[in-house]
Symmetry: D3
Subunit: 310 residues, 6 copies
């Protein structure tokens, strides 16, 4: 960068050049510590803004007359869906390429020569999964309508319920996770987390008809498995108990460490279920209950409440 032409200048409010230089040094230090290149080149990370736009398009393409543009009409639904999907899927293609590139450079988990082929494969398979995603989401909407006495119609559920918003994102994020782009999946999941307070890791496997009511504070971990027609209330945690470590003391990755929740289970607000335990079919877990062992099918677990008036 050039030296300033004039060397005598009145003092400015702050020392801009100095701050810029100091920030460049601290970045440099970080990159050296992280063994990052400091070479010439462009951004290599996916973009949160791009994925926000992609998810907005996907929501519209999946539910055109309810989450699409206000001026949409039945007779032009297919045109809208086709045009939107084309934009969304080509946008997603760019983001997938960025993540695979990132994996090549920093994680060594992708063969560079296969990068373009794998990108196209992911997009193709993702596009084919959309019908299944919509079908599952229809079951989630139906479950919410059946499970909440305050719900007046399936449309109200789709339009208003944060649990549905979270499930739209999760079912997309889970598909991306399975297709090998976990960073994109994570960004999609966090978009919903920020909006709803519901934190579902994209790795979680979730069956049809999940109803999450209210939702704020719900946490569902990476290896959790949830069956069909499960109901979950606010502040429920399906978490890990502890992380087995290898000889070097690093957490062992890829172990199943979160609960299995079988069909028709209900988990009330604030309950905490930790570790690879199984909640048997039809069990119900009371509010604020703390569970670290298996629960038999059909069992009802409640807290022993002790109370004291003063």
């Amino acid at each position: 960068m050039p030296q300033r032409a004039s060397s005598v200048e009145p003092a400015a409010v702050f020392d801009l050049d100095g701050v810029v230089a100091a920030l460049a040094q601290v970045r440099q230090r970080w990159r050296l510590a992280q063994q990052r290149s400091t070479e010439v080149g462009g951004r290599e990370l996916p973009s949160r803004d791009a994925l926000t736009a992609i998810m907005e398009g996907l929501r519209g393409a999946l539910f055109p007359m309810r989450l699409g543009p206000p001026d949409l009409r039945h007779e032009s639904e297919d045109y809208y869906v086709g045009h939107t999907l084309n934009t969304v899927l080509h946008g997603l293609l760019g983001q997938v390429r960025l993540e695979l590139n990132y994996q090549v450079r920093h994680l060594a988990s992708v063969d560079p020569s296969q990068l373009e082929k794998q990108t196209l494969k992911i997009i193709r398979e993702f596009s084919e999964s959309l019908v299944g995603i919509r079908t599952l989401l229809d079951s989630d909407v139906t479950a919410a309508f059946a499970g909440d006495p305050a719900a007046r119609s399936v449309d109200e559920v789709l339009l208003c319920y944060p649990g549905i918003h979270a499930m739209i994102h999760h079912r997309v994020a889970h598909r991306l996770y399975k297709l090998g782009v976990p960073l994109l999946a994570r960004v999609v999941a966090e978009l919903a987390h920020g909006h709803t307070g519901i934190d579902i890791h994209p790795g979680a496997t979730i069956g049809a008809g999940l109803f999450i009511d209210h939702g704020t504070g719900v946490v569902i971990g990476e290896t959790a498995v949830i069956g069909a027609n499960v109901r979950i209330y606010q502040a429920v945690t399906l978490g890990a108990r502890s992380f087995p470590t290898d000889d070097a003391g690093h957490p062992v990755k890829g172990l199943a460490r979160h609960p299995i929740v079988e069909d028709d289970v209900v988990i009330f607000a604030g309950a905490t279920v930790l570790g690879r335990v199984t909640l048997g079919r039809g069990a119900s877990i009371g509010g604020n209950v703390w569970v670290t062992h298996d629960v038999a099918p059909g069992a009802h677990i409640t807290q022993a409440h002790s109370r004291q008036a003063t």
Copy 2:
């Protein structure tokens, strides 16, 4: 839709026509199952974006010098308020008409011939309720300032506190709920829920001077009744215990199933109060306490804590 002119085309990245067709089929299946028309026509649901803009305008019209535009001046307050209200109320009129129309078609709860008249009546009564809403909100601001040692001024409270943001939305949503447009009310409530993590059902009846501190995770149910000068901390639930069902096993609607909280009650963080119980005047409920019975006026309920060092 036309056949493509050219029948020999190189393969594209994905089968757009196929995906569009499959999504059309799954929509058709849903509509048949829900007994929805598949005829020609436009969107019939209210718009979240429209209500977002309406709420932004209402916040400004209610508190012009603090939540209105940055370049507003005292001498032009009335002009701003009048211009903004005109825009907001005519925008709301369109949304009310959409919801009443929806009720006519899907819920049979409105007489079609009265639709336009009822729309205008709702807008008129809503406009007349704004002064009362502002007065109640002033009491909420004062309560927050008095109740939080960290608050430096009433203006900081209005500008920053998520509890106030939630109450602005609730007091508007409750009015819409009472006027017969519960779907609009629900959307307004969810806008605040998404922003603050505070989930107040529009049906809840709330007196003057409610202070919700921190707020994330608070849930207040549809039939809850809250008196004056109540204080509530984060993660408090005022919920239902169970849903009485009719002979067919469907939840009976419209029953009072959430708590009554009398004047001057304080409920600390994480407490759960379930069912149509009454917390008597001046009672205090300790953190994380679980309450399913009435609490006498002035009583202090705390948890019996058991702790174990390992």
Copy 3:
């Protein structure tokens, strides 16, 4: 305002003039009650929108290749950082001036004749603190990567983790708080609270390498002190137990009323720590545990769980 030229007009949908007049009266009542001037003049409060833009710029300037614009390149990083900082810091200067002005008028905490000088001093010192802020944030990113088995890279952590988003805002807000502009600090903190559900008061003192996982529902109070390498999970509260009051019954301000958390402590989800207690170095607090006394270094506190099957 002028009388309308024509006195015979058909009835409109609602009485706009009447509503505007009534709202003007209720504003006037509020101002008299708050002893506010009703004179001519402009807005005197800082702007949430302005601070939102400032924080977006700061995030980019601190982490240009990861949170900056998607088309940024290594070779122009310094230009981007310098240009963005110039815009951000001059924008912040305007907001600081607004808050100091507000303090002069309403809180009498600033000497009016020193206002401009103090404004410049705050901006200069804030600019010099940016390198320290970035260094601390690097330690937070490293801590999150080390502490979460699901994290694949430091970049995923920076891009996705709400705990990091909250810490970026907190480290900026805390600096503003220390420099004497607590209202700006509070707005910055609430921007993160709304986005992540993590509520950290700008006054809280936090050491290097804090990892907040999931985060929804976390509350950290104004006088809390947190050491290095602490880990906190969702719904943890570091709160006050009670507020000592003076003879007049008003809460005494400025007292240390929140916990001290020493280095290497882990606090699991839902735990509540209240009052000026100390969690000793290396202690761990189990999920949902309620703590109101000191905890010895290295101690492991867990809940005595009582469970009852029905």
Copy 4:
């Protein structure tokens, strides 16, 4: 509008209330003079902004791969065209309804009971005319490419040439003019006039293959008739000579008062042709020439230049 609550206020920079009142009076005076209603009600005029968006959509729908969105692809052209046309045509429907309403109230040229039926008829016929419009525009593009030695490709012509931009607008505007919505037509024409300096009245009848080069200053009047393959340069006027008046001295409307230009005519820059004269097939009119009589087919008219060196 309400009286201000406080009657003693310091003087503001300007007398806002006084200016507003005075402007209300001058509007009232205008309305009385124009015999306009001053009653309650909304805007009744079409919107320039709405028509700007409609024209942008139409340009894209007519030439999707060249004037449509940059990310469009061949395989999704039909989806884009269908979605865009649906939006554009329903938007146009609203504007047509506004103009017909205006005609009912102010021009008495429409039977109110037929208004809705006529609106739909106009939209239907306009939609059916789009193929013809595109075909004519293709001929204009071809003509420009053939007529300009500087043109490198038909795509450059479509993308860059102001004459083509003007013709897209004219061919749409002329259709609207013929369908009975001359005000919409005029707005569309003025959008092109503002952009290109080419002023073609929507009433002008223009055959295939018109090439307007450079174009600034071209004026073509309402009753002009132009044949096929005509070429026109900048600053050419096809105007009226005088307006016959009726007994009351008002101009007689609807008379043919502009030139007829037959096929294959060329009119060079700055030429002026006035009145209902005919330029015969293949004639050429030289630069700056002034024509007020018929010109024989094949004739070449040039100016007698007198020049004087000093």
Copy 5:
């Protein structure tokens, strides 16, 4: 600016640092040549974007139901006008201050100690002139409607005619010119020039009822004086003939050097009138005519046309 941390970097596409340095040098050279300061400081010139927004607001405030927002209603006109004027006039105040400041620094035409007082005076007088401006513009609209057989209504004229758009800008610009802010006036005039091709210097004095038809290419000079009810067609020039120079050869400023056009004059397309000549009341100047001497009242000047067929 700091030295780059790493001295060995691969070559980038272009030498960004080199280009930036070279551009800094050429700016420095310019500033030295123009005797400009190169010191620290902010922008001192008015902003085209700010004036664009101000003019859009003024057009709406002057003609609310026709050029204001599409959702405006009669019953809220005054609120809209008041709110818009407040924004516009305070925005203009900032621009006036910038220009006066500029005059102090570079033109020495303003007494610095009077700057703020003069700024307020200009705004106050401008606000008081708005009624007169609207009244004159009403006369322009009426004149256009009367003068064009193609005009169907006064509303079409206001909405569509570029001559009216130019006159709205001119009548505002002329007022600013007279109040002592000629640079702002010039920017306003150029906004209309760019949009319509009509170039009226803000200094020109224009009476009521001017109708400029088509307009492209019209030029009206700084000292031109135009009476009432004048009609002008496209490409008419009212220009200067030559510039008297002082002894040093510099043009003498402030001399009347453009034509005087008396009431009821008509000037047809392409006519050129140069110098301080007078076109007497009711005269008409034919198309393309060149006039450099006075024209008697009522005279009709036409070109002697010579034509030659080849």
Copy 6:
């Protein structure tokens, strides 16, 4: 595209499917006629919107304190210039690649294997030409200030004068034209033409210090050559007389067919100069004069005016 699921549908307002199909056919016909591919693929043409943004950035980078952002300050000029140039030049790189690709496919004027190398070369050379462009533009500003008695300062000239706006675009467009991307150059030229009414072909060679006053209607052809310190008024044409054709009747490309204008020439409004004639140094051409032969240095050409009073 899929068949619609339901075959019995009420009639819609218009036949959307039919219109879409018909437009697809007419596009197909055009592509066959133009021998265009109809295959799968994306857009291949440069984007007007992209070039609009690029030119806005370039104007700011060339004149940061006058055409850059309003909040720019002297001390951060270099940062702004560097950041903006980086964005602009990489944006331009993408547009250059699009045009070269287009040349490969449709004009066969580029060797495909050299495409990327040539793209980079063009950007590098363009970046190096910016200093020269700025220097020439400084001379244009100085010339305008010297040549117009109404100009108050060089800053007013840069900010307001359409002739300067046109020259900024021309000097950039001419550079692009010389570098081998004439389509980009043409789009840049048309952006200025649309804004100012000044139509300069990017091929025209123009020396230092050109002043175009008023400008509307000026046309300067592709092979025109203009010396230093030339002054041109509105509606001046420097055009071609006729196009020599080859044996097949096609215009011969690349011939010099526009005038040469030597240093210090003045051409007054409306003058037309046609063909490869030379206007000798210091000559002046009067208003409306028609020139098709060489003019001697220093000569003054005026029109022989004939006038007739009636």
